[in-house]
């Protein structure tokens, strides 16, 4: 909660302002009823009409103003809440970004989404549906009690005490009775289970595991339903408490004003005012208090976001050191992930002399790239490389659900369409792009749905080739391609990157020019 408050604090004046405006609009209903009561009581004594003139104007003013002020209050509230939401999202993203890659890999995808989108949106209810209406109710209550106090001091104090008690006791009871609901966790479970089930639904249909997936989800849904039922049984408590507080205030108002009138402290026209004001004050409260049953859930959700809430870091400028002539060399290297399964290996790559690493799956080809990048530990020596002057194509590379151009521009934002088309020629995608009605602006659907596996692979390859760096590390760049195409593209890449240091990991038997080195990896048989 503390971390959350840090993001809300700059918005507190705006929040208070919105609460005040809402409070004024509620006070206007109190004013409307108070003035009307006085007007009617006074009129019944048939005074000269002039005495009533002020009350008539006030009644009309409150009747008109209430709705208009409420409208502006609503707009202000939502604007403030949305602003806070954006700030929270930004800080979540930048925290995750800082802790990459180790943090993100362990987290389930569904959880991330639930965390960012759902939690950050849900917790805005903390101020929009809970804090703001409470402030507004307090303001309107204060104005109503103020009028009562002005008319009858002792009862004003008593009504004030009862009102304050209601403002704290009812939310407290509401929070207490709704606490301990496990709805949030089960909902998250359903969400995670569902996103996983969706990813593998086609396979589960073929392999007949969909029934068990279904049963698992149904069980979770039953748990959600059971906890919702439990919540339903406490849903009405705050409303009935509010009725009781209102009722006792009104009953006391009648007794007290009877006494005050008979002893001559208040004129008769004020009886109706004192009795009816509590009616107006408590009228708007049920929705305010009902929202407090959500507090426990919302605070839990806010706390689950806490690890992701850090101050927003200033924008980083990607460094583009372009010193050429880097020699990448490793000696007696064994990455920790394949320790005991790979004999120590040594090789080097330098401009004009690319290195190809070959070997069977699981023997440690990708681990060598991960060791060079410092993602995994290793024994042996590796020449240090500058991450800012290195381009990497990993098997886990992601294509974004945006246009082809935007995806390629991640490689180098300032790249021109001409350069893009040149590189697309290299990876033999140019004709496909030309045939698309929207060309480079074609969006690749959810998860690149309408590109084939080989097309996606070549798009990722084009993206890395658009970079201007001195070292290129390509992990299985030719997956899903036929051998001839892979061979053709490999030779073209060697040609355009002739002044750069190039390392390719591949299970294919690639033949590059005479200058290249090939390192064949053999896994040891013992375990």
């Amino acid at each position: 909660m503390k971390k959350l408050m840090r993001f809300v604090r700059p918005e507190v004046p705006a929040l208070l302002q919105a609460g005040m405006i809402a409070g004024i609009s509620l006070s206007m209903s109190v004013g409307l009823l108070a003035c009307s009561a006085w007007l009617i009581s006074m009129a019944s004594t048939r005074p000269p009409i002039l005495i009533l003139e002020v009350a008539i104007v006030a009644v009309r003013f409150f009747g008109l103003g209430r709705g208009i002020v409420r409208y502006f209050a609503r707009i202000r509230e939502h604007d403030v809440a949305l602003n806070i939401q954006t700030k929270i999202r930004q800080s979540i993203y930048s925290t995750m970004e800082e802790r990459m890659p180790t943090q993100l890999i362990g987290v389930q995808r569904g959880k991330i989404l639930q965390g960012v989108v759902s939690d950050s949106e849900a917790i805005q209810d903390l101020w929009l549906r809970i804090a703001l209406p409470w402030i507004a109710a307090l303001v309107s209550g204060a104005s109503g009690i103020g009028i009562i106090y002005w008319l009858d001091h002792p009862f004003g104090v008593l009504a004030g005490i009862i009102f304050l008690a209601a403002m704290f006791v009812i939310p407290f009871v509401s929070i207490l009775t709704s606490a301990g609901s496990e709805q949030r966790t089960t909902e998250e479970e359903l969400f995670d289970g569902f996103i996983q089930a969706c990813d593998s639904i086609e396979e589960s249909l073929v392999f007949g595991t969909n029934e068990s997936v279904r049963n698992e989800l149904m069980k979770t849904q039953e748990r959600i339903s059971a906890s919702e039922k439990k919540l339903a049984s406490v849903a009405g408590i705050s409303e009935s408490l509010q009725m009781l507080f209102a009722g006792s205030t009104i009953a006391l108002a009648i007794i007290s004003s009877a006494h005050a009138f008979l002893t001559g402290i208040i004129p008769g026209a004020n009886i109706a005012v004192i009795v009816l004001i509590p009616l107006a004050i408590y009228d708007g409260l049920p929705t305010t208090f009902a929202a407090f049953s959500q507090v426990t859930t919302l605070v839990k959700r806010a706390e689950s976001l806490a690890p992701y809430l850090e101050p927003i870091a200033p924008d980083g400028v990607p460094h583009q050191l372009s010193h050429d002539d880097v020699t990448l060399k490793f000696t007696d290297l064994v990455p920790d992930t394949v320790k005991g399964r790979l004999l120590p290996v040594s090789a080097e790559a330098s401009p004009g002399k690319p290195l190809v690493i070959q070997g069977r799956s699981g023997c440690g080809k990708s681990s060598i790239i991960n060791a060079i990048l410092g993602f995994v530990g290793y024994s042996g020596q590796i020449t240090e490389i500058d991450p800012g002057s290195t381009s990497v194509m990993l098997q886990s590379d992601h294509l974004f659900a945006t246009s082809i151009r935007e995806n390629l521009k991640i490689g180098r934002p300032e790249v021109s369409d001409r350069e893009i088309m040149q590189i697309l020629e290299v990876v033999e995608l140019a004709n496909l792009i030309y045939s698309m009605p929207e060309g480079l602006d074609t969006h690749i659907g959810p998860y690149g749905f309408n590109l084939s596996g080989g097309e996606k692979q070549r798009l990722k390859l084009a993206r890395v080739l658009l970079r201007h760096t001195s070292v290129y590390l390509l992990d299985e760049p030719f997956e899903y391609l036929d051998a001839q195409m892979a061979q053709r593209i490999a030779l073209k890449i060697e040609r355009i990157l002739v002044t750069k240091t190039l390392l390719i990991v591949s299970h294919l038997g690639l033949r590059l020019s005479g200058q290249s080195n090939t390192l064949g990896l053999v896994a040891t048989m013992q375990h």
Binding site: G67, E97, E228, G268, L279, A401, I410
Partner: protein, 535 residues
Amino acid sequence: MKPLDPRLLRYSRSSRGFLLLSVLIAMSGAALSIAQAYLLTSLITGLFQKERAIEDMSSTMRILVTVFIGKAVLGYLSNFLSARFSTRIKSELREGLISKVIGGESDALHRLGPAELSLLMSRGINNLDGYFSKFVPQLFIAAIIPLTVGVAIALQDWKSGIIVICTIPLIPIFGILIGRFTAVATQKKMETLGLLSGYFLDLLSGLPTLKVYNRSKLQVKKLGEIGDKYRKETMKVLRISFLSSLALELVATLSVALLAVSIGIRLVNGSMTLTSGLIVLILAPEVYWPIRQVSAHFHAAQDGVSVSNQIFEILDAKAVNGSETVADIKAITWSELTVSYPNRSSITIPAGQLVAGKIHALVGPSGSGKSTLIAILLGFTQISTGEIIVSTSQGDFAFDQIEKNHWRSLLSWMPQEPHFASTTVGEIVNENESSLADVSLKISDLPNGMQTHIGALQDAISVGQKRKLALARAFAKPSALLILDEPTASVDDVSEEEINRSLEREAKSGRIILVASHRPTTIASATNTIKIAAR
């Protein structure tokens, strides 16, 4: 947007009792409010005009206190009932969605993607909460209470009664007018929201990529820009949709003000009693209260109603499915087939045939439609034109005649990008160790052998091992048709040889084997070739 979707009411009908009870409770509440107005007035006028001591009116006070307690009890009951009502409908909808989607009866997965679909299941359905627990019961209450109270006012003072009864219809009319005005805007807001959440998932899934490209920091700013754009768009929508509540508030408070002034003037003239005046003043807000509640809940329910459109699209989907079952597959023959995709030219697949006991290599350049033919044979993609015939020992069947789940039980498949449920290697291949040997996946290469746990993110094993595991899973399932999509895409030559040998053995046992591949040796080991030309 319609305030009441008839499809939603179909679900409400199953809980008619709930609605009836809610309305009964609301009616009793209205009766208590009318009683409260009479009691308060009699106490106030008793003090003010007749100067009676409070002790003389103790029975009236006692009845008033009983009324307060009665209102508290009814307040509890109505909340409890509507919450139960909403819980029941929400779980019905959730169950319906789970069955439809997991049962493969809806194409929602392809249309929406896993993220948006999951969002619909969790937050989407929760958005219906306000609709069912508040809006729907309130709609019935608003239809009954204002008129009842209006009549009670008219009985006291017919002039005030006319003012009230004339303004009641104004409110729904305003509501409908402005509701129509906001429908498009609300739809737009929902779309932005879906887009935004999709954008977030995408951004976070691609964080490792952005990090490697040194582009990840720049996204913070972009996130701010997109959030700002979303805020502005939402505010535009809200500014309009709040107009409807402004209109309602104005009608409600202005008519109370009008009543108060007219009563005051008539009291001065002596044409009205204080008792009637006070009763009307106390009851007037009660007329507008239920209608204002409808409007307040309408905004809360609007999101839910948009969501319900998506939910019912999925629930009402009827998958094209046959009913025939077949004991075996001797051959599959098809004429020229076309499949149309959004946003790209349609794919044409030339006529071809698969026969039992043979290995068929499926070849063609990347993107020509190999994966599409496989999706057709698996029953995941609908063909736009063409015909597929399945020959069995019971005779020939059109592909569409065969029940899809039964059909899938006859086949086995290795997809290009395999996924596994969170389980162990042993579970995946039915504890069939020989299937691992078939694909040259060494158990000793796996961190924990057969017990190696393949988690949700499947990081325990390398990409190549994962593909081999998917191949082993395909081998392990007894099937008449074995479909393999690039089984040798990332394996070395030695493993490839082993896999090809396994394929030949399986073909000899009478299976139909279809292999999409780029590897010359894999293609060469096939007996038949199905060629798909470039687009």
